[in-house]
Symmetry: C2
Amino acid sequence: MNQDYIKPDNWSIIEEGFDAERVKSSQSLFSIGNGAMGQRANFEEKYTGESFQGSYIAGIYYPDKTKVGWWKNGYPEYFAKVLNAPNWIGIDIEINGENLDLNTCASIKNFRRELNMKEGWYHRSFDATLKNGTEISVKVRRFLSIDLDEVGMINYEITPLNKDAKIIYKPYIDAGVTNEDANWDEKFWEPLKVKKTGNEAFITAQTFKTHFEVTTFMQNSIWQNGENLSISPSAIDSLPDKIKFSYDVIVAQGQKSSIQKIGGYTVSLNHKNTLVAAEKAIQSALTKGYEQLLNDQIEAWAKIWEMSDITIEGDVKAQQGIRFNIFQLNQTYLGKDNRLNIGPKGFTGEKYGGSTYWDTEAYCIPFYMATKDQEVARNLLAYRYNHLEKAIENAEKNLGFKNGAALYPMVTMNGEECHNEWEITHEEIHRNGAIAFAIYNYHRFTGDYSYIPEKGLEVLIAISRFWHQRANYSNDKNQFVILGVTGPNEYENNVNNNFHTNYIAQWCINYTQEQIKKVALEFPLDHKRIVEKVQLSDAEIQQWKKVADNMYFPKSEELGIYLQQDGFLDKDLVPVKDLDPSQRPINQKWSWDRVLRSPYIKQADVLQSFYFFEEHFSKEELKRNFEYYESFTVHESSLSPCVHSIQAAALDKMDMAYAFYLRTSRLDLDDYNKEVKEGCHITSMAGTWMSIVEGFGGMRIRNDTLHFSPKIPKEWKAYSFKINFRNQILKVAVSQDGTSFTVNGDTDLALVVNGKRIQARKLENSIINNL
Amino acid sequence: MNQDYIKPDNWSIIEEGFDAERVKSSQSLFSIGNGAMGQRANFEEKYTGESFQGSYIAGIYYPDKTKVGWWKNGYPEYFAKVLNAPNWIGIDIEINGENLDLNTCASIKNFRRELNMKEGWYHRSFDATLKNGTEISVKVRRFLSIDLDEVGMINYEITPLNKDAKIIYKPYIDAGVTNEDANWDEKFWEPLKVKKTGNEAFITAQTFKTHFEVTTFMQNSIWQNGENLSISPSAIDSLPDKIKFSYDVIVAQGQKSSIQKIGGYTVSLNHKNTLVAAEKAIQSALTKGYEQLLNDQIEAWAKIWEMSDITIEGDVKAQQGIRFNIFQLNQTYLGKDNRLNIGPKGFTGEKYGGSTYWDTEAYCIPFYMATKDQEVARNLLAYRYNHLEKAIENAEKNLGFKNGAALYPMVTMNGEECHNEWEITHEEIHRNGAIAFAIYNYHRFTGDYSYIPEKGLEVLIAISRFWHQRANYSNDKNQFVILGVTGPNEYENNVNNNFHTNYIAQWCINYTQEQIKKVALEFPLDHKRIVEKVQLSDAEIQQWKKVADNMYFPKSEELGIYLQQDGFLDKDLVPVKDLDPSQRPINQKWSWDRVLRSPYIKQADVLQSFYFFEEHFSKEELKRNFEYYESFTVHESSLSPCVHSIQAAALDKMDMAYAFYLRTSRLDLDDYNKEVKEGCHITSMAGTWMSIVEGFGGMRIRNDTLHFSPKIPKEWKAYSFKINFRNQILKVAVSQDGTSFTVNGDTDLALVVNGKRIQARKLENSIINNL
């Protein structure tokens, strides 16, 4: 843990007191988003202290053509940068001739931020004394509407405390923004046109190269003591990329003055004419008005929480942690637009670029599957189906594969690979397996098989073709091997026979063969269509089978474990507990070669197979492998602690499970990895959800039935979560005394709890004793 | 072979006929240089066809801060770009109102280029008919003075053939140049000031970031029928980064008109005031005049050839090839300035950046040692001694080593690492071994031990410290292993236990220990000084010894070979001869992951150890390893065929040795790797020299004595070379009948030829029968 200034609270993230050192971290933690856009918690008024400005629009990126080193064939053409979008939140404030700036004013008191997760708004308040002696009280609320998802609202209220004040509000929109992530001080936006009329202003700009067009807009109104003054700007500064209005008001001591600013974006992904769309967006917002929009916001979030909330009693920090995770996931992706996906930083930062990683399939789909309508998870699967052609093209043109083999991109915005490190892009191929696994997982959870004959089988075939071609026969081992890969543990590059990669490759081929048979039997028309489309023969399937049946897996008989890769035992095997703490995190302290040759593991790798395919292994095997690899795992990936938490719980190591849970749920709030100022770890937040539901709750799906083996950390009084299982909402409430299972609707739900069949009933608590 | 337009000639490189497709290749092949500067064979007059403009100044570079992928700790701060320097050769030509441009004129006849290697000049001639009907004959000679190495000369002569002509000569200097190697269209030069006076002009410019200041200058004179017209410019165009003079002359049909242009650079590496230095440089050149400078040039090259020429009779292409190699090496580096080194592209292109690679130690030093004064090779060694502190800093700050361990940079301009791919920079550590080997090799060849107590031992100690720390003990193998390296074969990255790396690491430690003992015994004062300076204890040496004595080497007992690295035998072992030729060169056809998991070898790797340490292995071992690895070697590094040629000759595979020789010597002339337009492969040219002297000639140094076992390809009548061995010049002349050995001076030289002791004598041919 590296910080502890966030106040524990069940429903809000709260910061009290102003500390310039914390500004960038808080800008990440207090970020807001609505699935379509989002922004870091930057101040509206000018701030000359250290800051990381960030507003982001889903689906908007820039192709950076930076060349890497000498040459590597097969690189994608670009690296997709997440772009800082034009700024619409800015409101410069002048009070009695002096600019309000928390970095330079005489004093700040009562500074407080609150991110109200229950209601979906961000509030900031403070009292400031300016150098000119004017004391003011400021209260700002901001939210991005879930319902009108192109619109955000700001209510910026100022009360002069010690004298009357001439206040000039200077709201602006600004397309002249830069990126944190830039090689030099490049600009990424080209302003096209500006429009201003009355209290409204618009800047239409497009991104260089990708030519996404965005109209950024604002509409302002000035209020005094709750009344709209209906005044017009006293001055307008207009540049090709920035429009600023000035509104002058005289406010008596103790009176409340405020500006309400409507702002946001309309983008060419959704509109032919983004300017017209922007004018409509303002109209829609004005029609509702601030109060109504705020009420709608509260209601929209209530609906989200109704389905996805997890309660924890007796441990406020744990409660706050899990809600923060669920809140951020819903801010990032709501499943409304199937062209979008879940970026690793969501709308909280630029790092990593791109939007879609294997995180979606391995970590996020279970969360969305269980807390939203089935359609949302199906959309996430279809996202990959829609990119199948590009994945085949990627494998063929960039990497030389044949016959419809697909390699899905490691990082993508639109189906094209958009990362450019060979050890990742070319070699971290287990991602293909995760995409196949998600299809299996979706069917296992929802029981909806239709996706497989309709779309999934084509994806599975293309992936199996890839594995078949990617493996080669080793005469030395008399088995098939997979050389030159990077596993989930990215602290190893270009290794041979990574256990997880070999295992998931074998599984993909076996699973695909089963589905081909099943579709042939149950959906013969789909089978015919697909076999013809992809030109699949039995002979080819036999070729795949040879690879799967004769796959090599590295292991140590002596230790009774699978080896992460060939040669793992040659390393200097000092466990993490004996590592000098000053050397951690190793990814910040050590050079890359040293990280690579060390035994230290960034995130579950062998254990990822044990997580995906738990039922393939005995508990004894899990225990041996878990204990061995846990001792070398540094958890420097945000995706790591959740898997370890789930497995620790399965192995009855509840203290360890609890520690991992806290680490995953408060990774950002407590800044474990010393980097929260760069943004939050969005995709791993779904892992936090899993570590409660699958870890402590022990939820599994076996034979179309939900299984649970509930456990509870000794630190907690009780916890509860809900699961949307095949259109029945099951509430699971676990306390130190026992567990209750309740379903909505009139149909019972058959469950297996601790190996025993029970029926969950409506309005009836079937309390099961824990042990 | 991909081209064959270069006319075979013993002493010149000749192109006949104009072909726009060949322009970029010829610009590389006809490059000229004088060790301090050099340039591609760009046309003086405007050329609007496809062209790769390039002028280079030794030691001038730009630090490119391009970021690579996500993050890798330990990267150097920059990648050193070779910079295209301001253009001083440009002379626009206007004839009767039309610009001369070979891309647009009505016809071109008798186009001919000649690079006269014997005399060190480049000549181009052609007859052109302009669109306006004027026919002219053009003859241009250009050379870069070896004696006044800041100065180059152009004599541009025009004869109107079918009518009188008004000719306007527009010589210019231009600092507004761009780079081929640029991420975007960046500029790298900032013009500081211009000066023009009479027929002279100067632009002083500095490189961005590195702030190297360069004054580019020109002085022009106009001649008619051999007489200087002493005219002044009729017009002057002056921009901050370009100055162009115009000289108008009327030339009668059949009369010879010419412009003589003196040009070049003075740089802040050598002068406080580069402008004053430039004025002096022009004065020096004017004092001598064109004819005298040309005569001096011919004389300077005669001296170079006197020592370094290799003659081949009966095979013009082979003769032309070896002379091209020797010529280019001498154009690139003459050993005058010990801050400079031998860049992989010399002055012929930008690729690879930086100037100094392990090529210098492994390939170039033997050439310079044998064909120049001993001081030149000693300077090349001292270059690394002078960078020792930076190499220690590199190991410590970037890579986390301790206690004075040094890792020399993979690529450098000034001792700092300036490349940025982790698999190269962090892992291709065998380079450290090559630097130690060069110290051994220098002593072996020159007999000058003084370098070791004076400087070399400190380098050896720092390198041994590196190996000691870089190896780790494998409990699994009960031996020391070296994990995560890239060997000389860069088609493998991050492998474990690369044989060559492990072998040279062991050798370095053993050799260093021997030298410490020897210096202690023979130079006790130096020993004391060094041991105190570097704080070396016997206990530490014992630690090194443990590593060297227990080093692991991968091998296959079954095949009787060393393995290139752990796991090599898991590959799909299809020999190169069975590879579809359309797939080659694999580095242009395959994606990087495919190259990596293939068995194909870019250049000698296991065989590099056999080359360095031939006497450690039996001929049987060499044969088995050579035959095994040769079958997988694609020779896509220019450094590859020479080692294979030498080893094939040692194994009496003379046809193979000859084929490799041709490939190495005519690599660029015949464009084997389809890339000569990017520049020539300078450092590998020293390998060509080795393949004659060490390959066919069988030269070795054993126990302070030169050994030979001369062989001759059946395609040749005879060949000869000279060796400066400890200040005696030995000429070795081999024919199909036998070999003669002649020394200059009055002292005999004892040799061992085919195992038999003989005396080489002055003016006396000791003919030895070949077999």
